[in-house]
Assembly symmetry: C2
Homo-oligomer: 428 residues x 2
């Protein structure tokens, strides 16, 4: 029988709290040591790609069709065959791609670094302009925000709803403020809420008329094939849509195989058009003699094509889906009639985003930590780590085993309740 | 019988030229297609590391001693075991290292990028200062110069002699000009001259007292184990030496396995101290969740330790040495008594640097190119591609087979002579 904590009297709060406290102490005595702070695959997911490591060995043929020996220097923007592969999967023309190293985050950093030094569209370099800003749909990805902080870019949070970020706000802001130079988007299974940008939202992105001629959309399609359901969820091809609207210079799109093969040794991709593409290719031709082409070949031989890739992702799903299902079931059981916690039910991606009662997120995370379960810091999903409501927590259920996850989630539910009661009882 | 072309009469020049022209036409009719433009290993050198690809496979153990699964995210600054390995080889403490991706050039670019954005030693970011400058020992490495051009850093060439760059000039320049922020050094087997910085030169570097508090030495030790002789050539440990002199923030040191294992899939290293190390680690922790640790493991298992590494380098030497020997022999035979060409005899590295008669380098390269042999552009070894004497050419003998190299060098010798005669005869 789920109690609605909002309706408890003070006395009932105390009674409830004392019961929970005893349970909490039991958890503590178990000396748990679990990490749910980052979207890391579980070890058994990594095993799914082990065979990839055998695909390239001392007996392999290293000559590509283009005549290049992948072991040697050269081909700075990626193997043509690898561009063809990612083109087939994404529907974006192979010519639009740069195939990078093992980190799409690095490519985002590099792109922003380019604009800091050289600017875009003939405008003054971002680094020479005063007080430039990015729009940051929030809750969002803390590493995006960290890049902004690193470059001294001021962040403006943008509210999210079930269709994506608040487009009215975005359109209004960028039409009026020429210091706004960019926006971070995770358009499919957004980090952390798992929101899929609706076609309408994406199309409004493609039609943006920014006051800043050097405004850019950073479209981090990190979870493009990371589905948890059978539903075929596709989002607008933003590059194509922008092109249609005379906005081909707006978007820069990112993909990665980090959560397809190995997070420590995947392949990243960047796609864009026009000057962006020329400029970023030129930048990379100065920054490196080429990315790791042997690893590109390894991926190519293992992932092969769209259909093989989707089969492979199905195996990830078989590991991930039960974890998400268990979590959601547990949250429903524990908070079904108790409005002190709300959550999303993602159809893909790596996170479940929850909102505690206002002012309880930090305390919930602290309580979990003190009992041995590390969560993403409360606030991390907002620019500058500041959640105005101290309410959002990103739960990353993928890394622990399902048994550990169950344990951790039981503790989490307990801590959510305790944090609420501690607030109510002025124990914070 | 070698003729001294400087002593030829005009008539003799014409006679000589016409003979050479016939030979040249014969070369042309062979439709050569050889590339000696870059310091690329020959394919058989790449074969030396093939077994490395078998070292990590689907059956491998991926857990490091520190508990990390190399396949997953994490450990941004490199595997501890990899740091220990490079420390053993270089004599620099493991704690000073960041182990990177496949490109040391990228790490140089990233370090400069950091200073552009954040500056050093509390000074204004380089990108916000007006007209900053780098000292560029020349002839030098064109990719270093390209990085300066990319970041809008003015380059000041510095003369080289057999002990390294002109230290009087350097000391004087940086003591007086606070806009000089850095210097490029390839201290062992310099690109392209193969010069080894003497201990005296290195020690003067370590004692520099730059007017700019944000001055940095970029010490690209690209050829640290790339010996061509039995002579044990070691250079000063610049990090240690700078530390002794209260200058620990000056040097940033770079290494790479590109020419040890695979140019397309090696491992790069950066070493520095104090704030530099903290800052660059922080930068990388924002730029990436980690470099390719599986490739680090692969290298670790293959290269093992200093002694195994030196054994491996011996195999490279067995392929490279005959090429260098043949080249030098040919140059001596062709130009022994003919001062229109001088050259170095490197004890390691990847290049032979030659100086043609003044004003003849571009023409020599053009003639070679028209007959199917691509050399590094004349001028490329100087900042902005401008060799004031139009004299220096970098020859990269490593990529072609020794037979092809012989052919290419015969053509080269011919072209050097023709270029001189064409200049003398006002045919340019």
């Amino acid at each position: 029988m789920v109690k609605n904590f909002l309706k408890l009297s003070e006395k009932e709060c105390w009674e409830e709290y004392n019961v929970l406290l005893q349970e909490y102490e039991k958890f503590k005595s178990q000396n748990l040591k679990l990490d749910m702070s980052r979207g890391k695959p579980e070890s058994c997911q990594l095993d799914l790609s082990l065979k990839m490591l055998d695909e390239v060995n001392s007996q392999s043929d290293f000559k590509m069709l283009c005549g290049v020996d992948v072991r040697n220097y050269g081909i700075c923007d990626g193997l043509p065959e690898m561009k063809k592969f990612i083109s087939e999967v994404t529907g974006i023309s192979a010519d639009n791609f740069i195939v990078g190293g093992n980190s799409s985050l690095s490519m985002m950093f590099d792109a922003i670094s380019f604009f800091m030094i050289h600017g875009a569209n003939g405008c003054m370099p971002w680094g020479r302009q005063k007080n430039i800003k990015f729009l940051c749909p929030a809750p969002g990805y803390d590493r995006h925000f960290a890049i902004c902080e690193y470059f001294g870019i001021e962040m403006i949070p943008v509210k999210m709803d079930k269709n994506g970020p608040d487009m009215d706000f975005i359109e209004n802001a960028i039409q009026n403020d020429s210091s706004i130079k960019g926006i971070w988007c995770v358009p499919k299974y957004s980090n952390p809420q798992g929101i899929v940008y609706s076609d309408e939202v994406a199309k409004r992105f493609a039609k943006l008329k920014p006051k800043a001629k050097d405004f850019r959309i950073f479209w981090d399609n990190a979870y493009f094939v990371h589905d948890l359901t059978d539903e075929k969820i596709s989002i607008v091809n933003i590059l194509e849509e922008c092109e249609k609207n005379g906005n081909k210079e707006l978007p820069i799109v990112f993909y990665s195989t980090s959560k397809i093969t190995f997070p420590g040794a995947g392949v990243a991709f960047l796609a864009c058009s026009g000057d962006n593409l020329d400029n970023l290719k030129r930048m990379y031709s100065i920054k490196t003699v080429g990315f790791d082409k042997i690893n590109q070949l390894r991926h190519l031989k293992f992932l092969k094509n769209k259909s093989t890739l989707y089969n492979h992702m199905q195996k990830h799903r078989e590991i991930l889906k039960p974890k998400f299902d268990m979590m959601i079931r547990l949250l429903k059981n524990e908070f079904g009639g108790n409005p002190i916690l709300s959550w999303n039910e993602p159809k893909g991606g790596y996170f479940v985003s929850v909102d505690t009662y206002q002012g309880c997120a930090k305390e919930t995370v602290r309580l979990c930590k003190d009992a041995g379960v590390k969560l993403t810091c409360a606030g991390a999903t907002f620019p500058y780590g500041k959640d105005p409501l101290d309410s959002n927590i990103r739960i990353a259920p993928t890394y622990p085993s399902i048994d550990d996850l169950q344990l951790a989630m039981e503790l989490f539910c307990l801590c959510v309740k305790m944090a609420f009661l501690r607030k109510k009882l002025n124990l914070l």
